[in-house]
């Protein structure tokens, strides 16, 4: 979805949300990611302006304090950016691909069932189809991608073939780069402010 994402070309509007909208989004995010509740005032401070960035293909992104936090398509589920997920790694269900699948995941390929059922992989039972999941990788600490379950985990284990997870964002894709750059420039700002 974000393979060639470059917001400069793709942003159609960028605006501060009204406070009522901000409250609604905040509530929805915390409902979807309840583990973030204790950190809500850090990640989604009530007083800071929330910027809603609308891009083409009906993607919208939520930014606060110059940091990209979440995105969604249409009014589908919110996904955290990988950077946010790296900081709060346990906010969503996890699946693990084997080492051999990493390079394909980082090329934006669909995650096939065998990559989720092989010895290096791990998959919890009971994850329903349509769940946003963190895609971890064998032997790695941080998530390699965020994806959407195209089958339930039980179906994946039963069928053992076909597309198990569709990637939404992955390390090194356009969105990831945009977030990384934003983080760097925010850091530079903070440093120059403290001087």
């Amino acid at each position: 979805m974000f393979k060639k994402f470059a917001p400069k070309e793709e942003i159609s509007s960028q605006a501060k949300t009204k406070s009522s909208v901000q409250r609604a989004i905040r509530a929805k995010l915390l409902e979807q990611y309840p583990a973030l509740n204790p950190y809500a005032d850090v990640i989604l401070p009530k007083k800071a302006p929330m910027v809603l960035i609308k891009c083409k293909d009906n993607i919208s992104m939520i930014m606060m304090n110059d940091t990209y936090l979440f995105f969604q398509t249409f009014d589908g589920p919110y996904y955290p950016t990988l950077q946010l997920l790296h900081k709060y790694p346990d906010i969503m269900p996890k699946v693990q691909v084997d080492k051999g699948a990493i390079k394909f995941v980082m090329a934006g390929a669909n995650i096939m069932c065998p990559g989720l059922t092989s010895p290096g992989a791990s998959l919890d039972a009971g994850i329903p189809k349509g769940t946003p999941v963190a895609v971890m990788a064998e032997g790695k600490e941080h998530a390699v991608a965020i994806g959407l379950m195209m089958m339930s985990s039980d179906e994946i284990m039963k069928l053992r073939k076909g597309v198990g997870i569709e990637p939404v964002t992955y390390l090194g894709d356009g969105l990831y780069k945009v977030c990384a750059e934003a983080a760097l420039s925010a850091l530079a700002h903070a440093e120059s402010d403290s001087e």
């Binding site: 583990a35 950077q83 790296h86 900081k87 390079k103 980082m106 990831y176």
Partner: protein, 195 residues
């Protein structure tokens, strides 16, 4: 767990997440260093990690022989600089055309002609100044016009193709001789040597 239970029982009822502060990202490819292997330039990443986070370097690349790596890096960089311009023949051609300066002699009538200089705007931002220089040196008129393909060109009155060639070589050392192209546009099929 319902909304009510959550708010009554407080934070402890929320699912827990770890908080990983200061996740390290590679200064070269911005991926977590454990993923640099699959990034665009792992050898460069390794050098960065060794110089900036030697502790992590030894963990991730414990058996890495850096001298070999550095050699490889130099080779790959040399290769990159060799291969970079030869992306595809089409792109190459485009890139070459983009940086080409043509000095074209255009016959207006049998005895009158103008010289059109295109492509100089890629090397010299102020074409008006250049036009003035041509006009002064050659005691003629010179004007800057927009070309139909985009960019700007200079039209110089009179049969002065060779003089302009000399001036360009003399006054614009940043324009390599090999990108300058001398062409001619004769309207009537000239009877060659028709004296």
């Amino acid at each position: 767990m319902s909304e009510d239970e959550r708010s009554e029982s407080g934070e402890t009822e929320w699912p827990q997440t770890r908080v990983l502060e200061n996740t390290l990202y590679c200064g070269v490819c911005h991926l977590p260093p454990e993923y640099c292997t699959w990034g665009p330039n792992p050898a460069k990443c390794k050098v960065w990690l060794r110089d900036n986070h030697p502790d992590m370097f030894t963990v991730l690349w414990n058996d890495a022989d850096l001298t070999a790596e550095l050699e490889q890096l130099q080779i790959s960089e040399a290769k990159a600089s060799e291969t970079a311009p030869t992306l595809t023949p089409k792109q190459k051609k485009k890139a070459e055309q983009a940086k080409r300066v043509t000095i074209k002699r255009v016959e207006r009538t049998k005895r009158k002609c103008v010289v059109i200089v295109t492509g100089l705007d890629k090397f010299e931002p102020d074409l008006k100044r250049v036009a003035k220089l041509f006009a002064q040196r050659l005691a003629t008129g010179a004007s800057v016009t927009k070309c139909p393909q985009g960019g700007e060109e200079i039209t110089v009155q009179g049969d002065c193709q060779d003089d302009i060639y000399d001036i360009v070589l003399d006054k614009f050392p940043n324009v390599p001789e090999e990108v300058i192209e001398l062409t001619e546009d004769t309207k009537s099929k000239k009877k060659s040597g028709g004296a």
